[in-house]
């Protein structure tokens, strides 16, 4: 396809009705499983991801891998066979999944305070239930929530977001599958939004150097917007959990 479609119409709306700087609707929930130490579910638009965290616990299997000064972090990415419009052959183990696992690990390592847990191990499992663009960002965001749920100390939130260029000119944030297919290259970044550190950056194709700064700025802005949403979710979750343990009474007292 040589002609790229116009992704932002003359009136400034994208194909699904968003404006260029608007995220898709984000819904999230922490503590969705009881088995793991921490878990979370996130929906970004129609992209749906589950994350579970086990640990920190003793190093299992090959003990020689254990490190004296930090915890080992394992990531496993998988996609449900029904998550894409064509059924996938297998959920994990293909090249793309392995790559995703490595990228996830890289982003999360930047936030986890691994030095607090020598000789131990943290396992993070991420499963995509439905993919509609922006799979990697949703996975990072879900994993962050699950880590917080597990009570593992983080330097700060690690959030990810994608961005692209519409009509070769207008940067837009949080790219849906439809836009990925019709549009140009997509830039994905994972960042520590408070300190504005980028921990991972990936491009589906090359961007022209003139475009890169504005697309990057847009993606970073997206990360910050997501951080606000995650933060809200964490606070309300903590409040809920607190309520059930009678902690809310004390907090109310303090407020009063």
């Amino acid at each position: 396809m040589s002609k790229k479609k116009e992704l932002v119409s003359k009136i400034g709306l994208r194909l699904d009705g968003r404006r260029a700087d608007e995220l898709r609707r984000v819904r999230c929930k922490m503590g969705v499983f009881s088995q793991p130490d921490g878990s979370a579910y996130i929906e970004q638009g129609l992209t749906k991801v589950l994350a579970a965290v086990y640990g920190p616990h003793q190093v299992r299997g090959n003990r020689s891998k254990a490190q004296h000064d930090s915890a080992i972090v394992n990531c496993q990415f998988s996609m449900a066979v029904f998550s894409t419009s064509e059924r996938k052959k297998r959920p994990r183990g293909d090249r793309k999944s392995s790559e995703m696992s490595i990228h996830l690990r890289q982003a999360l390592l930047a936030a986890i305070k691994v030095e607090l847990y020598p000789w131990s191990q943290i396992d993070i499992y991420v499963e995509v239930l439905h993919a509609d663009g922006g799979v990697y960002p949703a996975c990072v965001n879900a994993a962050t929530l699950a880590l917080i749920d597990a009570g593992i100390p983080l330097k700060e939130y690690v959030c990810a977001c994608s961005a692209s260029l519409a009509n070769n000119d207008i940067p837009m944030v949080d790219i849906s599958h439809q836009e990925e297919m019709l549009g140009g290259p997509t830039l994905t970044i994972a960042a520590l939004p408070m300190s504005e550190k980028i921990v991972l950056m990936e491009m589906s194709q090359r961007f022209h150097i003139d475009h890169l700064p504005k697309v990057m700025a847009k993606a970073l802005k997206g990360c910050k917007d997501i951080k606000v949403i995650l933060d809200e979710a964490v606070r309300s979750h903590v409040e809920d959990v607190g309520c059930s343990t009678g902690w809310s009474n004390t907090s109310q007292k303090i407020k009063v």
């Binding site: 709306l13 009705g17 968003r18 608007e22 638009g45 419009s85 070769n168 022209h208 003139d210 917007d225």
Partner: protein, 948 residues
């Protein structure tokens, strides 16, 4: 700012895949009315200052249109009488889906702030969004969306009035029940105050059906059947190409067959118009026929059908089974490619409202239109659009769009040529002009520092007389050790035209300067084309230089590219330069360098020909115009000097050198030019013609073709070789621009020039491709920086598509202009001229008259008369008595212009020599030659003749 919103998912279930997409519904969409209190007022083009005045609705109102009104009546919408029109987003999407050209026209209306059109995004608005119900047809759903928006507007702004215009009766009735004011477009236009003339421009889809008339054409299959048929292979689809010589024949290029499929006759063509994308059914093999070799024209002046039935019979009689090609019939139209057509009203005494329109393009059928001003329109060239072609109607029906001017006027005819060839020719807009350098233009210190100063060199330019857009200049000087330094200096247009600004966008859309006989449609404003970029003699100019160090055998030892500043010593014509070279007494440095250049060019040319470059021929003529009356005063074949070839060789060399450089630097996105090797069957006419004359034309490679063309010489007919070359030229493919990333390396080949790599670098003033090449080269040598579109191979492929299209059209437009002026020249003249038989057909000879570059038909058998000739198909000859006429035989013909049909003036040929009793006519005597030509050299320049 970001906020989450309730949303509804939209399911789109395809064949195997289930796609779910999000659809956000918003609460921040502006209704567009200035007086609104409840919306957040943003930019809007609707205004209280404009009033729609209509007798049907005696109050100010806003207009809402349905999809079909926009698709059918875009001509009316472009008229400046409507305003305050609300275009619903659902309607806009549907228009875009159904017709891109109409969409583009609509968008330009919307973007024009004086028209007051506003897009309302009803499908994302929280109150006007509705869901398609189960079992609801898409059309009904769209109508419901429109009505929903109307009722919302009525509730939202109770003090304003809204009118829905739709031609769908059902929709109107439902709308009335919902208290929406509505009417048809016809009623609306009829009741417009002081715009009643617009009625002529209404498209007539609902044309009164003649109840008792028989259906004249077979029905088209319904769309579902067509799709099914194509899927299961029982039908095929392709582009319908009408024949220029036979109005009852056409061909359809279909993927499944190598040869084009022939369709013939009324039922075979079945209302397809040239360019349409049609579905065809292939007939069984025993019904296949070969392309007809008779010439048939539609000569009827009324809508009567007798004439076409008669001609169909004639056609039937001549059908042949020998060399049969796949034959089929059109069973349906996949996509219409109708555009607006230029032409005239059929001169006739038809009374009443209905008239026949005759398009200038022979491939287009006549069109039935309704007009109240036929008397006036008969004197005019007019534009007409086709609306529909019902089964019972002999001709399609359409509507009048606008008049261009008086028939036969130079200005009108130029306009027709430009319109018919889609040449953008409006004045440059203010915005475009704002990017021109401010005068007085001076060279700044910084410019000099960034460039190599070549002002001291003896540079000169050689061009056709009267050339004002000089884009190349040359120099040559001896440096030590018998080495020569040769420089080609090209106008540095990309210095003035920066990427992405309005000037650049306009130039890239125009793509090329178009040369008509007495007019030049510039690609860039004249300040650049004829002044700042033009390398005029004695003036300091910026150039992009390609400099070689060569030995005297023209071997390149070193190539350099750099931006430079030059001062051409002299702007010469080809003739002047030739005289300087030939005049042995002139020994000044320019004469020396010209002689050196000339001898190098000869070596280069020989080398090129040895490698298999083709020398092709096409009869090019030059029309001399009277500078005052602008009437052509003489038509002659172009004269060529050695210096033409000299300049050409160095331009070729520069283009090749640049192509190598930019491809090396940008393997993915270099803009190059390829000339594909023609498929062998393209050469059939040439090989056949060769065989009949006893020459074996080898076509397996360009080199062999060149060699066998060189050998095809016959003493008694010196023009025969040129004729063969003219034929060979017609077998060639079009050379095209492309982006290197989109093709394999071996496809880069330029067949005609026999070089592996080629591009265009040397004419940036008149070709946009060269500007891109300049930019690429500038980046490659570090003289400029890139920008995103330059390095995007998809973008540059899109650009190439436009360049190729515009180039082709510019070429056709140039030819059409020459043809018109040749006709003008021959009006009222009578002349005997030398000509050559180009093709032998069954009822005619195609004659080429090289002196005027004319190709005309000499009919040798007329209906009802017995012809003295007998046709031998195998040997392609016509025999009368003991005279045998072959292809390429010289003849003398009498040339007159038949002006009976003002639109299609045509030459009438009569045979003078060889003399055939009862057919030929006696030669003209001196006395009879009424118009003796006096050639007056006029300063009018018409066309650059450089090799491209």
């Amino acid at each position: 700012m970001f906020s989450t919103r309730a949303f509804i998912k939209k399911n789109k279930v395809g064949n195997y895949l289930k796609n779910i997409r999000e659809h956000y519904i918003r609460d921040d969409i502006f209704c567009g009315l200035e007086s609104c209190k409840s919306c957040e007022v943003l930019d809007t083009s609707l205004t209280g200052g404009f009033n729609n005045k209509n007798n049907l609705f005696k109050f100010n109102h806003y207009i809402i249109l349905d999809t079909n009104i926009i698709l059918d009546q875009i001509d009316i919408l472009e008229e400046d009488v409507f305003g305050n029109v609300i275009i619903l987003h659902t309607v806009l999407k549907e228009v875009k889906h159904r017709s891109l050209p109409v969409y583009k026209r609509l968008m330009s209306i919307i973007e024009n702030p004086t028209r007051h059109f506003y897009i309302f995004t009803n499908d994302h608005h929280k109150d006007t969004y509705i869901n398609q119900e189960k079992g609801e047809l898409i059309n009904d759903f769209n109508d419901r969306c429109i009505r929903k928006a109307c009722t919302w507007y009525m509730k939202h702004m109770p003090n304003e009035k809204f009118v829905l215009i739709t031609d769908d009766r059902g929709n109107r009735n439902t709308a009335r029940n919902e208290k929406i004011k509505t009417c048809t477009i016809t009623d609306y236009v009829k009741n417009l105050e002081n715009s009643k003339h617009l009625q002529d421009k209404l498209a007539r889809k609902d044309f009164h059906t003649v109840v008792d008339s028989d259906d004249f054409y077979p029905p088209h299959l319904p769309t579902v059947d067509i799709i099914q048929g194509i899927k299961d292979g029982s039908l095929h689809q392709g582009t319908f190409r009408a024949s220029t010589s036979n109005f009852l024949e056409a061909s359809v290029n279909v993927d499944e067959f190598e040869e084009p499929v022939i369709v013939q006759g009324r039922a075979g063509l079945n209302r397809a118009v040239d360019g349409d994308f049609v579905a065809i059914k292939i007939l069984s093999k025993d019904e296949w026929i070969s392309p007809s070799d008779i010439i048939l024209e539609d000569e009827s002046v009324t809508e009567g059908v007798d004439e076409v039935l008669e001609k169909e019979k004639v056609l039937k009689k001549t059908q042949k089974k020998a060399n049969a090609q796949p034959t089929g019939m059109v069973v349906g139209i996949v996509r219409r490619k109708w555009r607006q057509y230029c032409g005239i009203l059929q001169p006739s005494n038809m009374d009443g409202l209905f008239h026949l329109f005759v398009p200038a393009d022979r491939k287009i059928p006549k069109v039935r239109i309704e007009t109240r001003q036929a008397e006036f329109l008969r004197t005019q060239k007019i534009i007409v659009a086709i609306d529909t072609w019902p089964r019972h109607s002999r001709y399609p029906t359409g509507h009048f769009v606008r008049a261009l001017g008086k028939i036969g006027d130079q200005a009108t005819e130029n306009e027709v040529v430009l319109l018919e060839h889609d040449v953008p020719h409006s004045k440059f807009s203010e915005e475009v002009l704002s990017f021109l350098p401010k005068l007085p233009w001076t060279i700044k210190e910084g410019d000099i520092a960034a460039r190599v100063d070549l002002r001291g060199l003896d540079i000169c330019s050689v061009d056709p007389p009267g050339c004002t857009d000089i884009d190349d200049a040359l120099h040559c000087r001896e440096i030590e050790d018998d080495k020569l330094e040769v420089g080609v200096h090209i106008a540095d247009v990309s210095h003035f035209i920066r990427p992405g600004n309005a000037l650049d966008i306009e130039a890239s859309n125009r793509a090329t300067t178009v040369y008509l006989v007495n007019n030049r449609i510039d690609m860039v404003p004249v300040l650049l084309s004829s002044n700042l970029c033009s390398l005029r003699g004695g003036e300091e100019r910026f150039a992009f230089s390609c400099v070689w160090i060569m030995d005297k055998e023209a071997n390149i030892l070193e190539t350099r590219f750099h931006k430079s500043i030059i001062k051409s010593k002299k702007a010469m014509t080809y003739e002047e330069a030739q005289m300087v070279i030939d005049d042995k007494h002139q020994v000044h440095s320019i004469a020396q360098s010209l002689r050196n250049l000339n001898s190098l060019a000869k070596i280069l040319k020989r080398g090129r020909l040895d490698k298999g470059a083709l020398v092709l021929a096409s009869p090019e003529v030059k029309i001399l115009m009277d500078s005052e009356t602008h009437d052509p005063i003489s038509v002659e074949a172009k004269k060529l000097f050695e210096t033409n070839s000299m300049v050409e060789e160095f331009m070729l060399l520069a283009n090749i050198s640049v192509a190598q450089k930019i491809l090396k630097e940008f393997p993915e996105c270099a803009l190059l030019r390829r000339h594909p090797t023609p498929p062998p069957n393209n050469f059939d006419p040439l090989v056949k013609a060769g065989n009949h004359l006893g020459f074996a034309i080898k076509i397996d490679s360009g080199k062999n073709l060149a060699a066998s063309l060189d050998e095809a010489i016959r003493e008694d007919n010196p023009f025969l070789n040129t004729m063969l070359r003219i034929l060979a030229t017609r077998c060639m493919m079009q050379a095209v621009y492309f982006s290197s990333g989109m093709y394999q390396k071996d496809e880069y080949f330029h067949y005609g020039l026999a070089v592996p790599l080629y591009t265009h670098f040397t004419s940036p003033i008149r070709r946009y491709a060269d500007i891109i090449v300049h930019r690429l080269l500038a980046v490659a040598i570090g003289a400029d920086c890139t920008y995103p579109d330059l390095l995007d191979k998809h973008k540059s492929t899109d650009l190439c598509k436009n360049l190729n299209y515009r180039n082709r059209m510019a070429q056709y437009a140039g030819r059409a202009s020459v043809a018109f002026n040749t006709h003008l020249f021959f009006r009222g003249k009578l002349q005997d001229e030398e000509g050559y038989v180009l093709f032998v057909k069954k009822n005619a000879l195609q004659i080429l008259i090289p002196k005027y570059g004319l190709e005309c038909t000499l009919y040798i058998s007329e209906e009802g008369k017995t012809s003295p000739f007998t046709y031998d198909e195998d040997h392609q000859t016509q025999t009368a008595g003991d005279i045998v006429l072959h292809a390429f035989d010289p003849v003398i013909v009498r040339l007159t212009l038949d002006s009976k049909n003002i639109q299609h003036e045509k030459f009438i040929l009569q045979l003078v020599k060889p003399h055939i009793e009862g057919f030929s006519i006696a030669p003209l005597t001196e006395m009879e030659t009424k118009h003796k030509l006096t050639e007056i050299e006029s300063g009018k320049k018409n066309k650059k003749q450089k090799k491209s």
